[in-house]
């Protein structure tokens, strides 16, 4: 870089650019927040869903599964597991873990009560109804 472009210029561009783009991010975030009610399925954010989210978190489900594509890549995507499998299958599946099949990936049994199972299903149903711009591409997640 030649002498015409000085360190002071570089510094000013840095501070100006950083502040401008951070404020732009903040502004876009405000805009996103105001648009969310149309896409985030908050109408169905029931007490049961909130309890389900708490169970989802305290069993560290994200440590193996993805949810809307985020998480670990060891086990299936669960953002659309509700339409893929349905409530009864999900509950039966969670209850029957681990399969114990030699060499297969194993999911722990979390000893959830019927109420807790209903809550986790409610959370997964709510999640599947979020407008994700048609992601994932198909039902397999």
């Amino acid at each position: 870089m030649s002498g015409t472009f000085t360190k002071a210029m570089a510094r000013n561009i840095f501070y100006g650019g950083a502040v401008f783009f951070f404020l732009l991010l903040v502004a876009l975030s405000f805009d996103t927040m105001s648009g969310l009610p149309k896409s985030d399925n908050r109408a169905n954010l029931t007490e049961s869903v909130l309890r389900g989210k708490h169970i989802w978190e305290t069993r560290n489900c994200i440590g193996c599964h993805t949810l809307l594509g985020e998480g670990a890549y060891f086990a299936p995507e669960l953002g659309n597991v509700y339409p893929r499998r349905g409530a009864e299958f999900i509950k039966a599946w969670i209850k029957s873990q681990p399969t114990g099949t030699p060499g297969r990936r194993q999911m722990p049994n979390f000893n959830l009560t019927e109420q807790e199972l209903d809550d986790i299903v409610a959370f997964l149903k709510y999640t599947s109804e979020i407008n994700t711009q048609k992601w994932p591409p198909n039902i397999e997640g």
Binding site: F5, L36, E57, G69
Partner: protein
Amino acid sequence: MKYSSQSVAMPYFIAAIGLFVGQIIFGLAMGLQYVVGDFLFPEIPFNVARMVHTNLLIVWLLFGFMGATYFLVPEEAETELYSPKLALLMFWVFLIAGAATILGYLLVPYSTLAEMTGNNILATMGREFLEQPLITKIGIVIVALAFLFNITMTMLKGRKTVISIVLLMGLWGLAIFFLFSFYNPGNLVKDKFYWWWVVHLWVEGVWELIMAAILAFVLIKVTGVDREVIEKWLYVIITLALVTGLIGTGHHYFWIGTPEYWQWLGSIFSALEPIPFFAMTVFAFNMVNRRRREHPNKAAVLWALGTGVMAFLGAGVWGFLHTLAPVNYYTHGSQITAAHGHMAFYGAYVLVVLTIISYAMPLLRGRAANSERSQVCEMWAFWLMTISMVFITLFLTAAGILQVWLQRVSDTPMPFMAVQDQIALFYWMRLWAGVVFAAGLVTYLASFFVKGDSKPLIHA
């Protein structure tokens, strides 16, 4: 070492390397679980191993950043550290809190750990990378504040260089954006939106400031190039990083319930994110080519050049590979993501920490550079780890392409687990590459114990 208080960096570096070893052990265990699913089950299920693997990575990088700061800031500020005692106290607090957290993951069921540690008062756990119990998170904030206080006070009483100012901005940003980890709304979309304010604004934002500052410091030392030149580069690089990376956050807002315009914003800005990493590579090579001295620590120069190249490949190229919304629609949350994550973290942050350790450790041990034999050993470690990481990334990329094809592109999509069986070969290959990486790490550890005639420290 010019100031005696710089020596507090030593325990930080040693802890960083120790936790790095732990991270790799758990990485290997998970690599095996990918193909032998019931390995270590039920003692250490995959989710626990992964939490340990990723949390150890974050913690050891933070140890590395703090060690780097304690080494670098007194020298830049030309004054002793404000309080070496506070630095050592915080070292033990952070190490004990970190170790207790990892033991908690391993020994207590996660839901019990959550109950024991106040998660019912403020639920913050169970989100990727932010799995730490509430008390650990509060501990991190306290350690960070004490650390920032110590560093800020040191800088206030000394010379304020561009490098230390940029570093300090990065560290303050790190602490401030971590506060979003305490915000966990029930609304999943909002939860995910602000979760990225920690994760993305760390690794594709403020951490880049830290990284660029550390790299600039080492380059000044090993090349003797004029500070004015290096500082100008530093400003240009971090400008590019923030201009692209801040709105680049949008590449995480494609499919999580956020408005469609993020697909445009995220694609365009994140497509530019390789530019700062490319600039870093050019910067490193340029400075080394224009060097005014032959520094006896050749290993440190290798790590520095490696940081530039591997950060560009891992964060830049592999990031770009799947960052455009129409591509990401298929690759989101697949092994492609895992491939990128591995090489980006290794190339950018692992290597920059190992660069400063390579430069600083001999000085902390009272010599200008390690012996020839020790450096050769260290350079072997660099190549073993770097090349095996390239292969880990390539195998995961191959696995990811097949996965995306079979599960998402094909007219007859297969279920997740059926696809996993199809691509097992690549997971085996990845595991073997991981074994080579571990061998490289052992070589790295050995380099600290190789004897020989080291270069004496000449005080100017």
